[in-house]
C-alpha cells in the first residue's frame, strides 16, 4: 500500500468515526438560541437605558456586552454553556458570549497545568487570533482613512 492509498484509507476511517450531526435540527437550534441571546442583550440594553437615564448609548452597549460576557463566563464555569454549545452550535459561538466562552473554557480546562502556563497561556488559544485579526485589520482600515484624509 503506498502513501497515498494509506492516507485515503485513513481519511475514510476517520470520516466513518466522526459523529454525524443532523443538519436541520442544529440549524434550527442555532437560529433560535442565537436569536434569544441577542434578544437578552437588547433587553439588558433597554433596561439599562431605562434605569440610568443619563447613560450614553455607547456606554449602555459597553455595559450590555460586559454583562453578557460575565453571564457566559459564569455559565461556562458551572459547565452549562458547553452543553448548550453542543445543542446549538453556531448559536452559542457567534454571539459575544461565544468569545467569552472561548476564553473561560480553555482556562478552566488547562487549570491543572498551573496559573501561568495553564490559565494565562491557554486563555488566548481562540481569543488570540480574534484579537490579532481584529486589531490588524481595523488598524489597516484606520490607516486607509488617514491616507484618504491627507488628500481630502
Amino acid at each position: 500500500m503506498n502513501e497515498n492509498e494509506r492516507v485515503k484509507a485513513y481519511n475514510k476511517y476517520v470520516n466513518a468515526k466522526i459523529p454525524k450531526t443532523r443538519p436541520f435540527p442544529t440549524l434550527f437550534n442555532s437560529f433560535w438560541v442565537g436569536g434569544l441571546i441577542c434578544l437578552i442583550g437588547q433587553g439588558i440594553n433597554d433596561l439599562l437605558l431605562y434605569l440610568v437615564p443619563n447613560l450614553s448609548e455607547q456606554a449602555a452597549w459597553a455595559y450590555t456586552l460586559i454583562i453578557l460576557i460575565f453571564i457566559a463566563a459564569f455559565l461556562t464555569g458551572i459547565g452549562v454553556y458547553d452543553k448548550l454549545g453542543k445543542f446549538a452550535g453556531g448559536g452559542t459561538i457567534v454571539p459575544i458570549t461565544g468569545f467569552s466562552n472561548s476564553i473561560t473554557s480553555p482556562s478552566i480546562e488547562y487549570k491543572s497545568e498551573g496559573i501561568i502556563y495553564g490559565i494565562c497561556v491557554k486563555m488566548f488559544t481562540i481569543a488570540g487570533p480574534i484579537i490579532v485579526f481584529g486589531v490588524v485589520s481595523s488598524a489597516f482600515v484606520g490607516l486607509i482613512y488617514y491616507i484618504i484624509g491627507l488628500f481630502m
Binding site: 441577542c38 458547553d82 459575544i96 458570549t97 478552566i108
Partner: protein, 122 residues
Amino acid sequence: MEMFLDYLWVFLIGGFICMIGEILIITTNMTSARILVTFVLVGVFLEGIGVFDYISDFAGAGINVPIIGFGASLTKGAISAVESQGLLGVFTGCLTSTAGGIAAAIIFGFIFALIFRSHTKK
C-alpha cells in the same frame, strides 16, 4: 406593538447571523476560532465601508451582540481616533473602543478559572 416589532427584528437578525455561522460549521468543518475570526472581519468590513450603523439602527442587539459588532467596534474606534489624533489613532483607536469587552472577558475568565474545576467532557 412597535417595541414588539423591534424585538422581533433583533431575534430574527441575530438568529440569522448565528445560523450562517452554523451553516459554515456544517459545510466547511471550520473550527470555532476560524468562524469567529471570519465574523470579526465581516464586522470590520461593514464598519469600514460605513454600512454597519444603518444595520445597527434597526437590528440593534441583533448585529451588536454577534461578534460582528466587536469587529465593527474595533474599526469604529480606529476611524474616530484617526479623525481626532491623526496617525497615532491608527495604533490607539481599535483597542480603546473594545477595551471594556476584552478586559471583561479576561478578568471574568481568569476569576472563574480560579474558582471552578474542569467538567470532564463525555
